[in-house]
Amino acid sequence: MALPTYASPLERIWYYTYLVICCLVFLFLIAPILIVIPLSFNAEPYFTFTQKMLSFDPEGYSLRWYDTLLTLGHPAPETPRDGTWWAAVWERATWVQAAKNSFWVGLWATILATTLGTVAALGLSRPEMPYRRLVMALLISPMIVPIIIIAVGMSFFFAKACVAPDSAMGFLFGWALSEKGCLANSHLGVIMAHAVLGIPFVIITVTATLTGFDQSLIRAAQSLGANPRTTFFKVIMPLILPGVISGALFAFVTSFDEVVAVLFIAGPDQQTIPRQMFNGIREAISPAILAVATILVVISVLLLTTVELLRRRSDRLRGVTGR
């Protein structure tokens, strides 16, 4: 909003105040995220800027907290950093294990949520869908219902959701269940919980892409002799793909950032990055947490860029101009 030429002095003052307020709000939004980056290079075990850091003394900065991420839980951190040392980091270091768990849980939860969610969104966006509003409300509700309620419910139910190891189900899913064959304390339990939390995001983004979708394109494809399979992969998929990918990224981030369900349903084998951070923040807040935080900020910048590019491409494809 540019200032009109007829603005009175009072309006000018007000206009500039307004701009200042906006700048302050942007600062409020972004400063807390950026502040962790310099703090993570602190040479001292403090959570604030030291005198040396403020005077840009190189001694005030170090990579020691990033180093901690590799050495915590390492059986022999002081030995020379050769192949065995790095192998031990990969196999034993606490944060690396947490990162591996977070990544795999996130990946499988995303695959589950995106596949089920995309197919369901296709159904939901058909005009013939019965009970559309009710079903939609149910599928969005994992985002609305407080996570603590979902986590409590799951912790009750997953402890009882067990299969006998020698049954067919046990044979199929045993590898992903806990030692007793239950969903509680198992990777599968965490994956399912995270998938259900990511589903609303997939539904929302994919149905948003489908609102601009011209259903007659399907009929056109079919009238030209395409079978349903070809129609889906050649006509529908390319058009909704950007929405599917942003939904998938949302689902991944949801899982990658989720801690409450993990706290309630996961066992010691399902240590994830957020869980490790949560415990770290509650106990001794060492700048190692800030080093993790910095890495996560970099990841979120990359994800955000991807999603933005995808959205623009999708808008272009659907012929929607502007945002």
């Binding site: 906006c22 939004l29 019965p130 407080p146 799951m154 309630f264």
Partner: protein
Amino acid sequence: MAEAPTALLTTADGRPLKAALATAQARARRRAFLLVLPLLAFVLLTFLIPIVYMLKRSFEHDGFASSAPALVAWFKSNPDFDPMNPPEEAYAALVQDLARMQVEKTTGIAGTRINYSVPGSISLFKKGAREAASLTPPFKESLPALDKEWARPALWRGMASASHVYTAEFYKVALDLKLTDKGWERGQDNERIYLYLFAKTFLISAIITLLCLLLAFPVAHLLATLPMAKSSLLMILVLLPFWTSLLVRTTSWIALLQEQGVVNNMLVALGLLDDSGRLAMMYNMTGTIVAMTHVLLPFMILPLYSVMRVIPPSYARAARSLGATSWTTFRRVYLPQTLPGIAAGSLLVFILAVGYYITPALVGGADGQLISNLIAFHMSKSNWSLAAAIAGMLLASILLLYWLYDRLIGIDRLKFG
């Protein structure tokens, strides 16, 4: 061959068009539904059933019923006993059960169940069970001689109620009712911690919603009125927090706001604060409010923005040209058009704030805790049923708000970015 008397429209194969259409539509409906079915089944298994299961737990507790069979049987055959003065058989059954609990190591479970309605019962049951084997009849005198609490009518009411596996007692406790000698009554003001915490949670959520609205309004307006290229760039500043881990943002606020944190250090360095007068902004309610406002702000900006973007600027210009001041133009012309955005954003932020757990747990200290933290507390103390009852009440209020959201805004209008 006579022609059909009515001009019924038919398809090529001779079926009435109406019927064919109905079949086709039914098939289309079925197909649409089949696409949604796998996801529905999945959500049912991992989301709906666990919640229903939790609600069942909020009405269920067999801790006492399963460990005191003699007394349960006695209560069953004497449903109208006088809790002010239970007879000798009741005491005898109780002592028999106490001795049994000692052997089977179930005092803790039984005592915990009664403890919900009659605080202090865990200790009472432990002591009673230890001595039960050495008590002599008449138990009506020897048991209260051990501890006069055993003769308390409230305890007998509590045990009678706990002899049923299913009960609404946990909701009564969660509503701050107290079991007294005369029955369930409203607790004293300073004992009403659950309702107090509910009220506090709603109040803090309202404050956060208001703060978000105040901060989001100018920003959303700026984003909506700037040219596309610039606003897309600024939008990144709104979306980046949205994409950043909640734990990262909470950590940042700890670094910023703690007593030896960046903000306090800055104020001291600038001479605005005395070193001993550092502000306590973390590990209290202030910490919870600031950090949650930051976390939830994008949820306010985005709906406001999407409404503001489609408000044509010509209305405001028309108002100005008709002689309205800029304030009147804003208040009478612009603001009313943003109302849908305000409603959508506020409801969403409020709903999310009411159920927040992580941020208050980490930065809330003692007085910045919300109802979710209380649920987690009772879970950690293995008070499953009480935790479930409080969660049930929270769920009811959230569903009410959700229904309101759907009515006013419609869930399909929910969008990110």
